[in-house]
């Protein structure tokens, strides 16, 4: 949670992004109207459960989506600095990634934006040594380098992510899970991108290995001035490493704020419920309630706020009107939340909910299911 921001200039501006999956029974809105801003050197955490649209978002930003997925609306502005706009001559203006031609996309992929996938085993080619896969990237994108320079760069990259350079000769199956994930990070870093998108990079790993890789990542961020979009379902992990966190539910961002504020006082009832779904290592052992129900099926998502059937604070407008992501008043700068309870236009004569109210609400909801409301032995 070290807030070291040398510049506050934006790197990526996503606005009103919508992605649909077209199916026989009509379209499914996987991502609806998402706006995000990533600053230089920042780690932006995207948290959400399965089906919340967090991976679809990442693939939309990198234009990796394939049919039946389709970007129906929105803008993804990228502020390249040294990078010349592939279309306009020499302009340093931001450009919309969604407008790029395939050739222009090839020019920014990997050089500017790289991606690390969840399963390192599937991201690597099992029939090639990891070194050759790394050299391949360099040969394709840096044709002017001599092969000796490429080999030198490959060794440098491996050492940068903490693997001995001899391991370049290994095949993926000869490496442990942690080393494989380090190798994919090294490959992603090959062309010194500004932005790395990491889709659940440590989910398949054990905690000790996960910690090592996260420590490495934070070090690389400082060293290379990287911006990172970190996607995970593990909110407690994001609270430790991210600067800003966006919480997604059913394809929408429901709350976006700094990690510190989110930890101190989550505003959206869903964020509150999520944060209180992780048992703690400290303090008194007490029964936790969690969130009743399950995440919605997007094929027939609830009307209004998608969270309303599970929400302890539900009131009249929730089932009808989709709440917009609004910044909250005055003292809570930079914290935005999509909940009618914080919107003076809807919550007429109502105070914003307090943590105590949310906790009581969840307990009351939970008392309708029998296993809740008891104390653990």
């Amino acid at each position: 949670m070290t807030m070291k921001m040398n510049t506050n200039s934006p790197l990526l501006d996503v606005s009103h992004l919508c992605v649909d999956y077209l199916s026989e029974s009509g379209e499914v809105h996987a991502v609806s109207d998402v706006s995000l801003r990533l600053r230089r050197g920042e780690i932006l955490g995207l948290a959400g459960e399965s089906g919340s649209g967090k991976s679809t978002m990442a693939y939309a930003i990198t234009r990796l989506l394939r049919p039946p997925a389709e970007i129906t609306r929105g803008e993804v502005l990228y502020y390249g600095q040294e990078f010349d706009h592939p279309g306009a001559s020499g302009a340093k203006e931001p450009f919309d990634i969604l407008d790029l031609s395939p050739a222009e996309l090839r020019a920014i992929r990997w050089r500017e934006i790289a991606i690390v996938f969840q399963s390192a085993m599937n991201a690597l080619n099992p029939t090639m040594t990891v070194g050759n896969q790394l050299l391949d990237v360099l040969a394709t994108h840096r044709p002017k380098m001599t092969s000796a320079q490429r080999r030198e760069r490959a060794r440098e990259l491996f050492e940068m992510v903490g693997i001995a350079a001899e391991r370049l000769k290994s095949y993926p199956h000869e490496l442990s899970g942690g080393m494989r994930q380090r190798a994919t990070i090294a490959i992603a870093l090959a062309l010194s991108p500004k932005l790395i998108i990491m889709d659940e990079p440590t989910t398949a790993l054990d905690v000790v290995v996960q910690r090592e890789i996260l420590t490495e990542l934070l070090r690389l961020r400082e060293q290379l001035d990287l911006s990172i979009i970190f996607i995970t379902h593990d909110l407690s992990l994001l609270l430790e490493i991210a600067d800003t966190i966006a919480i997604m539910y059913a394809g929408r961002v429901v709350e976006m704020t700094s990690a510190r504020e989110l930890h101190r006082q989550p505003l959206h009832p869903y964020s509150f419920g999520m944060l209180h779904s992780f048992p703690s290592l400290h303090g008194e052992r007490r029964l936790m309630t969690g969130i009743a129900g399950s995440p919605p099926d997007l094929r027939n998502a609830p009307t209004g706020c998608a969270f309303h059937p599970r929400c302890p604070l539900v009131f009249a407008p929730c089932a009808q009107i989709v709440p917009a992501l609004l910044s909250t008043p005055a003292n809570r700068v930079g914290q935005s939340v999509a909940c009618h309870r914080y919107d003076p236009a809807h919550a007429v004569g109502m105070e914003p909910p307090t943590p105590a109210e949310m906790e009581a609400g969840y307990s009351a909801l939970a008392s309708t299911t029998p296993e809740l409301g008891r104390t653990p032995a």
């Binding site: 459960e49 905690v207 379902h233 930890h263 303090g283 969130i291 009743a292 995440p295 296993e371 809740l372």
Partner: protein, 351 residues
């Protein structure tokens, strides 16, 4: 493992499991994956024990031996004091009246072509619990209510694809309960589920543990949920047990260097910023040629020559908390274990 509670229902003594490695050279020395080395534990009614470790630590193998899905290489399993050794079909069938298992992946453990009724009814019939159609239906409905799948009448005809992950896991818990077991072996029952649903299933298991007076073995890699769910925790590393005792003692005052590493690596937003994560080195070793002695010694910051030679015996740290580590004076009384290490390398946890 001194439990204040009643006598243990299921006990395991010095369990070992080696899986032979198939080799193609006929004269080669036989090799084996030494998955579990000398694990002892005891489960008693109404209590839960968490088995914590990374992947490859042997925790699932222990559960499968207790479920008698694997035959232990050596060691003894006792149910209500009587050794269970027979591998006869009828003996295993009788054993499974008492000991049932819940698997990790509810998407794989239910048959997609069968309804909920079929899954639960089959368990009831095989174990001679229901003698007529109406009796069976009544019992299935009762089971579904027990796992909070209500209205039960709606769930009984559903197929697995119509259920969410959490609901599926509830069905597999109901199936395990169908025979009225005394012991439930839950192998990572919530790790495949979405975060917001996990707690619901954990709370269900907590309630069942109390209501049905079940002895539960709870396998997890998440040390925080071990503390939430279980009274006792046993930490395994590479097939060896390294530390155990009351969950709060093990997790808040971890003594073994591996337990300390595991806890320091766990995501924890409440961790005081002064607590620096312990440096991790290396990964779980190969279990075909494991390190000699204490298998943690190549990664241990406090390793001593003796750690390479043999595995330390158990040191009692008081109040049921124990560890297998030479740092605490193997096998000695519980007095002042921290004096054993020098001040600079005192392996006390983050404060």
């Amino acid at each position: 493992m001194n439990m204040q509670a009643s006598a243990p229902i299921l006990e395991a003594d010095h369990l070992r499991k080696h899986f032979p490695v198939r080799q193609f050279r006929p004269l080669a020395k036989p090799q084996a994956v030494q998955a579990v080395e000398d694990i002892s534990l005891a489960l008693s009614a109404g209590h839960a024990m968490a088995l914590v470790g990374e992947s490859g630590s042997g925790k699932t193998t222990v559960a499968r031996m207790l479920a008698r899905l694997y035959e232990p290489t050596s060691g003894e399993i006792r149910f209500r004091g009587a050794p269970v050794a027979s591998t006869k079909r009828s003996a295993l069938h009788a054993y499974r009246h008492h000991v049932q298992m819940v698997f990790q992946d509810p998407f794989a453990s239910l048959n997609p072509v069968h309804s909920v009724r079929h899954h639960l009814g089959r368990a009831l019939r095989l174990h001679d619990r229901a003698h007529s159609q109406s009796e069976e239906t009544a019992q299935i409905l009762a089971l579904l209510n027990k796992v909070s799948l209500t209205p039960a009448e709606q769930f009984i005809e559903k197929y697995p694809h119509e259920l969410s992950g959490g609901q599926r896991q509830r069905v597999s818990i109901a199936r395990a309960l169908a025979v009225g077991p005394e012991v439930l072996l839950a192998d990572e029952p919530v790790s495949m589920l979405d975060v917001s649903i996990r707690l619901g299933v954990l709370n269900l298991l907590l309630r069942l543990k109390q209501e049905e007076h079940l002895a539960v073995l709870f396998i997890t890699h998440d040390i925080a949920s071990a503390r939430y769910f279980a009274e006792e925790t046993l930490v395994m590393y590479a097939g060896q047990s390294v530390e155990g005792g009351p969950s709060d003692a093990v997790i808040q005052q971890p003594k073994h260097p591996y337990t300390q590493l595991l806890i320091s690596a766990a995501p924890d937003p409440d961790r005081p910023s002064s607590a620096k994560p312990l440096p991790a080195r290396g990964e779980i070793p190969s279990l075909i040629t494991p390190p000699s002695g204490c298998r943690f010694h190549p990664r241990c910051p406090h390793a001593m020559p003796i750690c390479r030679e043999r595995f330390p015996g158990r040191t009692d740290l008081g109040e049921g908390h124990w560890t297998n580590c030479f740092l605490y004076g193997e096998g000695q009384a519980s007095s002042a274990p921290t004096n054993q290490a020098t001040a600079s390398s005192t392996p006390t946890a983050e404060s």
